[in-house]
Subunit: 596 residues, 2 copies
């Protein structure tokens, strides 16, 4: 039996009820969370977005409701009217905000029955993610997922309130744009009206937001959908959302200052946490040097220590060769890990192999000296100097990697994180923000045999490094900054190039011919000639921001309808085949798309 | 010469300056709006987003600034420091908020020079739209376009504030979705990981917002980009934005009530206008009957009057035939238009032809009787009855169309609007809102030889019309409502079907086989079985809403980077060809896309 809602719309949300409502007649609409019979009565927990309240069906109050209630099961949708009463002494539920009261039903309507769901509609359900994604409409009914969605809403609301208050205008930029792949792969959209031509979905609103600066908008933002057709390693999604910001007439300090205000406001409004600003700033060089990462987690120390000068001089061939060829020998002190078994150390050796390190040297500091397979290559003085350099004390495990600087940083940077996890060094409550600055403008891409932009080719060089641009582009530092929270990149940005001549030089450095540059970015180069102000900005990954605030492990939990690693929507089964008529209209050949 | 902004960031916006700042040293950044030499001084109007202020370069204050200023032209980007002084008596500019003061420059930097723009950066410039769109970054620099962008921002901010306050959650739904064309054509996105398969860009978030209701979100909204690959007749864009709203546990009255609150808040916050609610409601039937349109402009009367009973009985073959075949003869009274020339009336006849009317009968009411080519077919009494029916008075022009009801409504509905324009009957300041309700659920599509949903196939029938669903679907009214402002559809929505059996019946009525329905919408049908609440919602066209508030003639003026009628971005030249590598990765055959 299905009944209508007419005349019985909710007068109050379930979770809003309290002892203050005792004696009132209320109308409730919601889902049956649980139902049970007890002592000639039927009890149900009625749930809506606001929370849960206990409702009671008694034959003495309303015979017909009681009879209907006998057929009610979990997830049935009900509308009911009833009186709010105090629960009998001893039956209160302190874990529920509505636990002092219950609602005695005088009228019940079953708005919709429900089949038994494939998993429980409850907190932290233990079920395969594929099932959760297929039945996402049920997964999102679970209270922990609802909280994330509420938090996401609150986050964007707080962002918009802050930015509006600071004079930023939200401006929408196109989704159907021009394909100018530089970095990631574009998603393409065939044009029906222009046979053989394609739109691209934006990887970011970068060019449009810069053009808005040319147009004098001065302060722009947008919470924008972006698209990258990459293989979804790690925690990526084909479409993701970023808080995209751009300002004119600013410098790095000004951008950072405003953004610290934004971050502070959001964490305060959404989590009630007070952050202390200004955040720490590290140069890229220092971050790589001390933490082996350009997104260092500063919640714990265990810094990387350079020992090339000491270890490079010893009679150990591996070290000596690395030192001679301009490599590095660096170590970390795993405090108190001197008791690690040989097997644990072997695991760590295997672990650094993932990051390209050919080996992991180790020393255990003991009262009586150093225990290590390579101790024999060292003099007592050299060992003592090394232990001192790493602040080694008895009971410590010193770990060394010798290789090219990039490999040393990557391997030790990751071992640092791995040890912190194993040793439980991280305070989960801490929110540690750091700005990483002064990135290199370009890096050399061996595979492509050319320079590529480290951020993107619109990033401005530091003024003082401009003279190096012609002959030593790899030495030029960019006016770029990343904001890192607990070792995760929250956002990144830069001051942009606003002069045509420098932009053209940048395109040339990364190997774009004049013709290609004009073909792809001619409109931007032209725009720069009509009075373009100095400008810069930043973009934050919203999905990841919410994930960090909500304490979830994957951004999929922070997106209402995410895709799987193979870029599929498990619920709607997109992508899918389409009709030949659709393909023909788009000038695509039916039947050929499946074959390479 | 290009100089840096370092150390000379703006301390205040140009438009913020007033007599209150006299004596202060300020730093300004902006564009040169105008420059002129006068009496050994150089004057410039410096413009930023906030407004304009006059700056003065005097060799006595700073020789170097004065010399630089000689090279300055319109749209140059400047940074300057100077003292705010009161303008000499008699040189104040009352039309400018900063007109009492001027800034004497003690330091000037030229941040970027500018070529002469292709059109003036000024209010209401008279230049071809193609040129404006090509140089959109300059077009958006014009004050009237900046105002529209500010208004758009304020509009979405007010919407979000209102909805947040009412407990709505903004939830983002996917842009890469499944193709389920029903109505308009989908934009498709080829999948790289799934050869031969495609995503579709959403025509609206309809299905996802309904699934969010299944998931218990209760109150959802989103300012969402939508895509329809239609031929861009009239004022359409391939991508447009809608304020998308959905609610659970509501009925039509509740939706309308909340939406009136929303509209009232937005018009108050953005335009400072107080609207009076509730808005008028008209049934679809009444709207068609009285105004010949389902989006009637109620700012003027000139209602359509049915005269079939009188005119169908006369000895005029055209009228008699129409009446006999179930058609209508209806007229409007063009008040005071009895002086129209024969040529003007011929123009109107041609005009109704556009809407399928085969002719336009006319009568001029004169003191001495009725002047009309068809008067001879009428008796005196019949003429008098007709004139009376249309409230004709001497000097009035009565216009009649006789045809099938749909043609009569369309032709007379349009003639009504055309006459209102010609006679200037419309008060441009008035904001006339009306809800049009009780739409037919389906209409018969002659071309497709099947019923099609009038709104979309998820619209719920009126409860009381459910018994008609099987045998007379065309007589079933929908729980659908459109909000019309000044004859323009601002938004539309409905209560949705939330029961699987009714949804399946609806699919069957519009000709979807069980298999097709399952293939396309299986996930929705499944979802309906797990406890789906009664729900409904609405969507407003944001671009059009802003257009109406800003008093612009096209939505292109309300979109930062719109496309042309041929779906091209004039600035970036999208769509464009892409590389063979890109096509191959998407399993598309290079070189074949251009040929049908």
């Amino acid at each position: 039996m299905v009944e209508t809602l007419s005349g019985i719309l909710k007068s109050i949300d379930c979770g809003e009820l309290s002892a203050a409502n005792i004696g009132e007649i209320v109308t409730l609409n919601g889902w049956v969370n649980k139902r049970r019979d007890h002592g000639g009565l039927i009890f149900a927990d009625l749930r809506d977005r606001s929370g849960i309240v206990q409702v009671v069906f008694s034959p003495e109050v309303d015979e017909s409701s009681f009879e209907k209630a006998e057929s009610v099961r979990g997830e049935y949708v009900l509308a009911l009217r009833g009186e709010v009463r105090r629960r009998p002494a001893g039956t209160e539920n302190e874990s529920l905000s509505t636990g002092e009261i219950e609602v005695y039903t005088s009228e019940l309507r079953i708005l919709n029955p429900a089949k038994t769901p494939p998993f429980y509609i409850t907190e932290d359900v233990d079920v395969d993610e594929a099932v959760r994604l297929k039945y996402r409409y049920l997964d999102l009914r679970r209270p922990d997922m609802q909280r994330v969605m509420v938090m996401r809403h609150q986050t964007t609301k707080a962002m918009r309130d802050f930015l509006d208050d600071k004079g930023f205008l939200e401006v929408e930029t196109p989704m159907l744009t021009k394909s100018t792949p530089e970095g990631a792969r574009d998603y393409l959209v065939p044009s029906r009206l222009h046979p053989g031509e394609f739109f691209a979905l934006p990887q970011s609103p970068q060019l449009f937001k810069q053009l808005l600066m040319v147009s004098g908008m001065e302060r722009y933002f947008q919470i924008a959908r972006c698209f990258r057709d990459e293989d979804l390693r790690a925690d990526r999604q084909p479409e993701f959302t970023q808080l995209d910001i751009e300002m004119s007439f600013i410098d790095q300090d000004k951008v950072i200052d405003i953004m610290e205000g934004l971050v502070t406001k959001v964490f305060k409004e959404v989590l009630g946490k007070e952050l202390s600003i200004p955040f720490t700033r590290l140069s890229y060089h220092e971050a790589m040097d001390r933490y082996g990462s350009d997104k260092p987690d500063l919640r714990f120390a265990m810094e990387l220590v350079d020992a090339t000068d000491i270890a490079g001089e010893v009679d150990f061939k591996v070290f000596a060769t690395v030192a001679k060829n301009g490599g590095q020998i660096k170590g970390v002190n795993a405090k108190g890990c001197g008791s690690f078994t040989r097997r644990e150390i072997d695991e760590l050796t295997e672990f650094v192999g993932i990051y390209g390190a050919k080996g992991l040297a180790w020393m255990i500091v003991q009262d009586e000296g150093v225990k290590s397979p390579i101790a024999k290559f060292f003099t007592e003085e050299q060992l003592a100097a090394l232990v001192k350099r790493l602040n080694g004390e008895p009971g410590d495990l010193l770990l060394f990697v010798a290789d090219k600087p990039a490999v040393v940083a990557d391997a030790l940077g990751h071992i640092r994180l791995e040890l912190a996890r194993r040793l439980d060094l991280i305070d989960k409550e801490e929110l540690n923000f750091v700005w990483v600055m002064d990135f290199p403008l370009v890096e050399y891409d061996e595979a492509e045999d050319r320079y590529v932009a480290m951020h993107h080719p619109f990033t401005a060089p530091l003024e003082e490094d401009l003279p190096l641009l012609d002959d030593s582009p790899e030495q030029v530092r960019a006016q770029a900054y990343d904001l890192v929270l607990n070792g995760v990149e929250l956002g990144g940005g830069s001051i942009r190039i606003h002069r045509r001549d420098i932009q053209e030089k940048m395109f040339s450095i990364i190997g774009l011919s004049e013709e290609e540059a004009r073909e792809k970015f001619g409109f931007l180069l032209d725009a720069f000639e009509y009075g373009t102000p100095p400008h810069g900005g930043i973009a934050f990954g919203l999905d990841r921001w919410v994930m960090l605030m909500a304490g979830r492990d994957t951004i999929r939990d922070c997106i209402a309808f995410p895709k799987t690693q193979s870029s599929t929507d498990m619920m709607t089964k997109a992508p899918s085949t389409v009709s030949n008529k659709q393909l023909k209209e788009l000038h695509l050949r039916p039947g050929h798309q499946g074959k390479k």
